[in-house]
């Protein structure tokens, strides 16, 4: 069964999400990856506002391809989230409730998710053309000079993701792997 949820993402919604849930997200989300995170953290350090109010928002880790003529956006799949780990606990503390990406997160990120309440969604890495079909509109709202790495406001419709790490600390990457591991011979 696929759960339908809307963004912004309230604490009430994420309380009901468990690792392994298949979810479709509709509503407004924001994009930021490596360079945008660095700049946002510079803003936080110098006590300046972020380009958007981060409270109860979802950040999608993506650097999309340019939009071909007649399309809203080019291919737009998730990038590896771990590179944002250094910056993420602070953003969660400031109210971020959702992240979409791929790959493992650090212990620091997971403990911030548990402490403040946030959920990590995995999108299918490499399904970038397919995912682009869920993006109804997009506009650059900050750091336009970063090109593909700029912060974008996106409206998405039924963006398919899987809850990988819930706010209770359950991790599908770990549990899923354990379930299908055949034997303990490979350095695991």
């Amino acid at each position: 069964m696929i759960k339908q949820i809307t963004a912004p993402l309230t604490h009430e919604t994420i309380a009901g999400l468990k690792a392994g849930d298949m979810v479709e997200i509709s509503g407004v989300i924001y994009t930021a990856r490596d360079a945008a995170h660095k700049r946002m953290m510079d803003l936080v350090i110098s006590n300046q506002p972020l380009p958007f109010n981060i409270r109860e928002q979802i950040i999608y880790y993506v650097g999309p391809c340019p939009a071909p003529e007649g399309k809203v956006i080019g291919s737009a799949g998730p990038t590896t989230s771990g590179r944002m780990d250094k910056y993420t606990p602070k953003l969660i503390e400031m109210g971020l409730t959702g992240m979409i990406g791929k790959g493992q997160r650090s212990d620091e990120v997971i403990s911030a998710m548990k402490q403040y309440g946030a959920v990590y969604f995995g999108a299918v890495g490499g399904a970038a053309a397919l995912i682009s079909k869920c993006i109804i509109s997009q506009e650059v709202i900050a750091f336009a000079d970063l090109g593909t790495e700029a912060v974008r406001k996106m409206v998405v419709n039924r963006f398919p993701v899987i809850v990988v790490i819930d706010q209770y600390g359950n991790n599908l990457y770990d549990s899923g792997r354990k379930k299908y591991r055949v034997k303990e011979l490979n350095h695991d």
Partner: protein, 281 residues
């Protein structure tokens, strides 16, 4: 002596950039399809079906298979009886990349300096490996390499006494530690032997081999088979969320090495491991 004008090179590279990024190779498409029949996880099966649907959309709508259209790796085999006219061969390759990425709406992901990190805005420079070979043609193999998988690659200078078991342990460990990051099911390119950089180059080039091919070396061919089995016991699965198919293929290339060394390079390719090639003229 055959003359090849750089305009031919530019046009060819421009087209290969788009072809490699839009069209998933048939052998890989089939391997994903076949993996779907063997995958035990229901969500894993769904992920594999998504990947095929994604490839279909990319092909039909001429969109990038993945938004990470990579750093462009180009292998050139230049016949020794070819005379390139009109300018520099390397410049021509880069011009082709520049045009292909712009025309093809492909993402520009190259930064000029690894520390200061300003985007060059045209995905150049490409990483170009040129080999002089007999003949009067130029073979161009172009492989856009995304960094989700590139970042999970590794190299070890093992001891000769580590032998094939040590080599296989290192390869399995590298894939295991990569976990969900490199967009599994992965294709694993391995270079064994040579020097440090030779092993790395072999591992990259091994990714270009068709799925289903096996190493010319009987020992390496056996290791390939054993490694596919071992890696698929890890449980990482499609998209890393658990499953029985973690790799589509392991390709090992070997080269003679020094009496004191056993270099091993593991270059991980994602489930798309894009590449396209053409021969000039």
């Amino acid at each position: 002596m055959r003359e090849i004008h750089i305009d031919q090179v530019i046009a060819c590279v421009e087209k290969l950039c788009m072809d490699a990024n839009y069209y998933l190779n048939e052998d890989i498409y089939r391997a994903i399809e076949e993996a779907g029949n063997r995958e035990k996880s229901e969500i894993g099966k769904m992920v594999l079906a998504n990947l095929r649907e994604n490839a279909d959309i990319a092909k039909n709508e001429k969109m990038a298979i993945c938004q990470d259209t990579g750093m462009t790796v180009v292998f050139l085999e230049v016949g020794q009886d070819v005379h390139v006219t009109g300018g520099s061969l390397n410049d021509a390759v880069n011009e082709g990349v520049r045009r292909g990425y712009k025309k093809g709406n492909l993402r520009c992901a190259v930064v000029k300096h690894p520390i200061t990190r300003q985007n060059t805005q045209d995905n150049t420079p490409a990483v170009i490996h040129t080999q002089i070979v007999p003949g009067d043609r130029i073979l161009i193999q172009l492989a856009p390499k995304g960094f989700g998988s590139e970042n999970m690659s590794a190299l070890a200078m093992l001891k000769p006494s580590d032998g094939s078991e040590g080599v296989m342990d290192f390869i399995v460990k590298t894939v295991s530690e990569a976990g969900p990051n490199p967009c599994p099911p992965v294709i694993v390119g391995v270079g064994i032997g040579g020097t440090m950089e030779k092993a790395a180059l072999l591992s990259k080039k091994a990714l270009l081999r068709p799925i289903g091919s096996c190493s010319d070396d009987p020992l390496a061919a056996n290791m390939e088979k054993e490694l596919v089995e071992r890696i698929n016991t890890l449980g990482i699965g499609p998209a890393g969320i658990g499953g029985s198919i973690t790799t589509l293929a392991v390709h090992i290339d070997i080269f003679p090495t020094h009496i004191a060394g056993l270099p091993v390079a593991v270059n991980i390719g994602c489930h798309a491991t894009r590449h396209a090639s053409a021969i000039l003229p």
